[in-house]
Symmetry: C2
């Protein structure tokens, strides 16, 4: 058996409660006693039994992290941030993988809920009700999804989309296509909304929605032909994986990126800078997101008043690389004609 508080008490000649206090609340113990006990505890290699402590305090000093897919580096990064901040705060992290399955997600959450003080739930797949049901027993912070009444953290999807659009417009593009992710994806929805809003604010642009695609390589391949057919000079993809698929298919069709067609996307996964041309992509501070989640969750758990707002958006950053370039001369001319034909506010020719 490991060394217990009792052993330390026996060794130092004080009572077990003094040992407990010297270790947990040192300010309540006289200097000499405290030193004696702490020294002895250290010498004997005493390590408190978390389970016993939790049994009485009702706190576990553990938090749970439930993600749809651990293999996805996106969630790995968040996990790294979570683990890092949690450790700094003296908390351990339980990991749960729901394999993108709502039923499994519920089971995983249930299995974890009892042994933690709170849960960080990434991209919850369950219904609003099922998620809300969890939050009655356990503090929860949501990532990549918002449900009224539950604190959540997200990236600034709209800001990222706008950054891409401004970048493309600055390069002279006026006909821009967007290849969206799954309709069920909340973040995809936010980006589509921002895309439309941008279009409404800039009527001189021709913005084309290519439709919804699986957020993977094959989805990008599928979108590529539509993008080419649309006449757009730039394509924005829901994520880098799709951008890779676009790239592959576009080149297969004999076009060059970015000379004939520019590509921009979201995520800035590691490989974005390893392919040629390197991808222009919106970077999400994922590790920072993980940390922010822990902060928000501990605010809840410890009932700290000065926590951040119930929901917040983390700023993102556009990383410009080689997959976006100035609009092709031919397209620029063609579009110039269009622009001239419908000048903003003034009609000189009937």
């Amino acid at each position: 058996m490991a060394v217990t508080i009792r052993d330390v008490a026996k060794a130092t000649g004080v009572s077990i409660s003094t040992v407990s206090r010297a270790l947990a609340t040192p300010e309540l113990v006289a200097e000499p006693t405290r030193n004696l006990v702490q020294q002895a505890a250290a010498d004997m290699g005493y390590r408190p039994n978390r389970a016993a402590r939790g049994l009485i305090t009702g706190r576990t000093a553990c938090i749970g992290l439930v993600v749809p897919d651990l293999e996805n580096p996106f969630f790995g990064s968040i996990g790294k941030g979570v683990q890092d901040r949690a450790r700094a705060a003296g908390y351990s992290v339980f990991i749960g993988d729901s394999s993108e399955d709502p039923a499994l997600e519920a089971e995983v959450v249930r299995g974890i809920a009892k042994q933690v003080d709170g849960i960080i739930l990434c991209s919850a797949r369950g219904s609003d009700e099922s998620v809300r049901a969890i939050t009655t027993d356990t503090p929860v912070v949501l990532v990549n999804r918002t449900i009224a009444g539950i604190p959540s953290i997200d990236f600034d999807n709209a800001g990222g989309l706008r950054a891409i659009m401004q970048h493309l417009v600055a390069l002279g593009h006026t006909t821009i296509a967007y290849a969206a992710g799954p309709v069920t994806s909340w973040s995809s929805g936010r980006r589509v909304d921002a895309f439309r809003a941008f279009g409404e604010a800039s009527p001189e642009l021709r913005l084309i929605e290519l439709g919804n695609f699986p957020p993977v390589f094959a989805g990008g391949v599928q979108a590529a032909d539509l993008a080419i057919a649309s006449g757009a000079t730039a394509v924005v993809a829901y994520n880098d994986l799709m951008a890779l698929g676009l790239l592959d298919r576009i080149r297969e069709r004999g076009l060059r990126v970015p000379d004939d067609l520019s590509i921009a996307s979201f995520d800035n996964v590691a490989v974005a800078s390893m392919v040629s041309p390197k991808l222009t992509s919106v970077d999400f501070p994922r590790i920072q997101m993980g940390r922010a989640c822990v902060d928000a969750l501990l605010d809840l758990v410890l009932e700290r008043p000065h926590g951040l707002e119930r929901t917040s958006d983390l700023p993102v950053e556009l990383i410009v690389r080689q997959s976006t370039g100035v609009v092709p001369a031919s397209a620029a001319n063609r579009e110039d004609d269009t622009r001239t034909a419908t000048p903003k506010g003034a009609v000189t020719t009937p």
Copy 2:
């Protein structure tokens, strides 16, 4: 407070020990009582308090997984397998990220050790002694590293290397270069050993060791020029990231892959099939590895006799794609000459 065993006892009119038995060891309770209790427990939403149980049984039903970097999809996959198998066995998983830092690794392990029944330690960074020290308190299974006396699981690195070599030889290559990973990497060492062994067994081949490189894109870039200078017609890289760097630099030098130079590597990361040309790579069954780790660890924890051997190598699979092709005609001729000039066993010209 949550519903306890006491509440269930009160509701059913039996004693708490009967409730405990009905739930934990049903065979010790009479059929009617058992049903009554189980039904009531289910209705009341009773969930056993793991901490309390652990306090008395000495078991936590938790295992720890410590990896060098959660952001690396390699470890994410292993984590997925671990989590999956552990859940099936009724175990929860603590995650620890050591950020490739031996000191932090030790701290993370220490923090986790007390709250788990065993630890799966991936690519341990600490010294043999420090790792062995852990195993005195806690069962440990090692991944990607072997230390005498500690059970470990690994991939069949040598088998993978041989599979690549046989593939290249079948394509006519006789001058093959190898770009190794860091000298400190255990798996890199295994592959280098296998490379040399293959060379010794096939004296008709010219095998070139380009040296050790960082296992990342930049390392591959660095190796590329050496590979080209070496006159090899095929390059084997320590991992896919390096292969990507090789690919980039080789094309920058005006050569084509695989027409002028073939590239093969290890890991088969997702992106290997998303670049062009798609990479020939050795696939590691990582999720399966995670599962195998849990099985091995639970053998230790539960002192099951029929566990697998103390150390074992998981089989790997070569995935042939577009980055490897038949040897260039020019090179084939040149090499034919060489081969003729130094025939095996017979010297015709002084």
